[in-house]
Symmetry: C2
Subunit: 437 residues, 2 copies
């Protein structure tokens, strides 16, 4: 038997691509050496958000008295790591079964094994040689091993711990780093950030980066540049101050997980080099998601995989890659889509920014989370929206309105004219859209 | 001095219209006999949502142990009505000051007085006769007085209570009724709904109505049709069963609050009859919001008032009135925009419905609120979206994406193609948009 497509890896690129391939009638096999759902489902996006929900609930409960809830003594509150983990694992299992259901429904086969690419039409796995017309590499990435802390725990290791560290040192960069630091802070630990890069999140607008840095300061989470820190046994010295830690967690910039391959795949900075259709240097071998190094976001991985299926089905892709949101599940949440102010400036566009504070939004006030704002960046000829940035308790969901607006090339006038329900936090889109100088 | 515009009433029609009028350079005066912000701000939208936030927090805290939060005994939890009220009043004050600030900034004057319309160009208030070029009536509505319970409390009266009733009888119809019933249920009271109409919410899609009826059943809130109930002193009899109550709250269908007027305003079912521009039978006298009986939603009132200002400024209005969302702050929340299935059927359109459950959404699962769904109703020629309905913990914010989509005449293809961040609840738009038979 010859498959139309063998997918190696079952994360957001692999499982989404496989479902779509099945729907399109492609005879499809997914091979993964570990868990269905990959990193995102098993120790990435989903578990971290589930644990953050627990931590945010603990955080919010502390202000219950203000809302008129009696019977809670903040001093009595505690965090049960094993229970939070158990709840998380139940969610992961449910979603994992959901993926297997959708594969089955769409005729997709699954093989738990290590895969080796023998040729553009042959994959070896489970001591068999499998024939295929196309291969999609969706093996993802992992944090690069650290030279300063070669034995640092990974996020996956963290979930195996009986008890949590009191003073974790989180070394790396990016949204995960910030989320993890605030997670530990909200459950009463004393995390330290060892920042390999500053800004912490290089693709974020400088305005948001500056906001989150202030937030971390308020949270009393030290942010120490790796380059300036002197590391001793179980403490590090920065600005003449000693910072103790009892565990190191590796949240470093990522390196690709490359499958074994006989055909030599061309790399770029260690990631599989691909063209606009996400095809590698070897015709018939595609790479989507983290492994191609274009982005490290789950939703972009899925979108790329769908584009691979389109390409295999001879559907032509649009010239440009799409706008996609960047979400940070911090406290409060932050989200961004489109161009940053720096990117707009670099293009010499005439632009304006309409900013509207959450403190003027009735619904945000009723929710007790009026800390934040919306910023709408638009060019000044037609007022087309070029970028949107939101800081709000539910920014990660709110950003979706900007996504569809930008997909349809909407303007600030469209936002101002669209009737938004009252009272909602989403009204800030309308209010910001309507700002007149 | 002659005003360009006198606005009578300062709710969502009055205050929003006045701000825009000021921005457009119209010399504007707002007259209100009571509070700045009208019913919506002072005892409607905002206070009810603030109190619901408190009740929902109490409700959520009961499952804190499942999230891994220790130190809370559900049996110890209590609801402090006075504290919840105090928090609410602080929010109301802040928003009220915000409106006054925006008025001042835009040169709008305010007079606290009872207004009487003497002619299309004269208003009497505070023992003075004020000259104006235009008048906007934005006096709102109140629940109609009940024949069965003439002394029933209003929502406004409720906020003056020292302690809450144990078994409130909520008599009337609409979203407020459902929200209020669930509020009492969540804080541990035993509310009874006396339903003047069934469906409870006539403008809601039958699918959502049926969902909320089931929800009320789960909440053990009896829903008794007014027409079939026999009322005794402090109990009512329905289906041979006695239901005690210790207070009656009037949430009846609304009647207009009409200002005194020498020119005879033509009415329709008791509300000021207006044309597409919201002008009454008397040229120069407009009516926006509840008082014209076209809608009883705050955001529609604001939108109408903006259209009045456009009309005064000689900006032509689009032919059709706009789509607007309908939000119910129930537990879970419900939201709807565009046509209901019944309305689509009545137009003999070819349509389909894509429905996607929240139980398959990772973010909803992590939040512990995967009860709900999205339904997208679209015509089958171009797949243009005709209506969207959502049940979800944050449905009232999620619906805003559908608002901008429909304003820009988007399709299910647009939803499926737009990259939605993972993991977010808003992904259900993309997932539902991508459903293929």
């Amino acid at each position: 038997m010859v498959y139309d497509l063998i997918v190696i890896g079952s994360g957001p690129a692999g499982y989404v691509g496989a479902i779509k391939a099945g729907q399109r009638g492609l005879k499809t096999l997914v091979i993964d050496k570990k868990y269905v759902g990959g990193m995102c489902l098993n120790w990435g996006c989903i578990p971290t958000k589930s644990l953050l929900e627990s931590a945010k609930m603990l955080h919010k409960v502390k202000s219950a008295a203000e809302f008129g809830i009696g019977g809670i003594d903040p001093a009595d509150l505690s965090f049960d790591w094993q229970q939070a983990l158990k709840r998380t694992q139940q969610i992961v299992s449910k979603l994992s079964r959901g993926i297997e259901f959708l594969w089955k429904k769409n005729g997709v086969e699954f093989l738990k094994a290590e895969a080796k690419i023998l040729s553009p039409t042959q994959v070896e796995a489970d001591n068999r040689i499998l024939e295929t017309k196309n291969i999609l590499i969706a093996t993802g990435s992992r944090p690069a091993q650290r030279k300063d802390f070669p034995d640092a725990l990974s996020l996956e290791d963290l979930y195996g711990l009986e008890t949590l560290p009191e003073k974790p040192l989180l070394a790396g960069r990016g949204a995960n780093l910030v989320e993890l630091a605030q997670f530990f802070q909200m459950i009463g630990k004393q995390p330290i950030i060892l920042a390999d890069d500053l800004p912490l999140m290089p693709s974020l607008d400088a305005y948001l980066e500056s906001y989150i840095q202030k937030q971390l300061k308020k949270n009393k989470i030290p942010v120490i540049p790796t380059i300036e820190a002197v590391i001793k046994d179980n403490y590090l010295v920065y600005n003449d101050k000693e910072h103790n830690f009892d565990m190191v967690i590796n949240v470093s910039f990522r390196s690709a997980i490359l499958p074994e391959s006989v055909p030599v795949l061309e790399l770029k900075n260690g990631f599989v080099k691909t063209d606009r259709t996400h095809q590698s240097n070897i015709p018939g071998i595609y790479a989507a998601g983290d492994v191609n190094g274009k982005s490290y976001l789950a939703h972009v991985a899925s979108a790329q995989a769908l584009e691979v299926i389109d390409t295999i089905m001879n559907v032509e892709l649009p010239q440009d890659e799409r706008q996609y949101p960047l979400n940070i599940y911090s406290e409060p949440e932050m989200a961004q889509i489109g161009f940053t102010e720096e990117q707009i400036k670099a293009q010499n566009l005439d632009y304006k920014i309409n900013q509207y504070p959450l403190s003027a939004n009735g619904k945000a006030l009723t929710e007790g989370s009026a800390d934040g704002f919306i910023r709408i960046l638009f060019e000044t000829k037609y007022n087309e929206v070029l970028g949107v940035q939101i800081v709000a308790a539910n920014a990660t969901d709110l950003i979706s309105e900007a996504g569809i607006l930008m997909e349809l090339e909407g303007t600030t006038y469209d936002l101002a004219r669209t009737i938004h329900a009252h009272p909602t936090v989403a009204e800030v889109y309308m209010d910001a859209g309507a700002i007149e100088e």
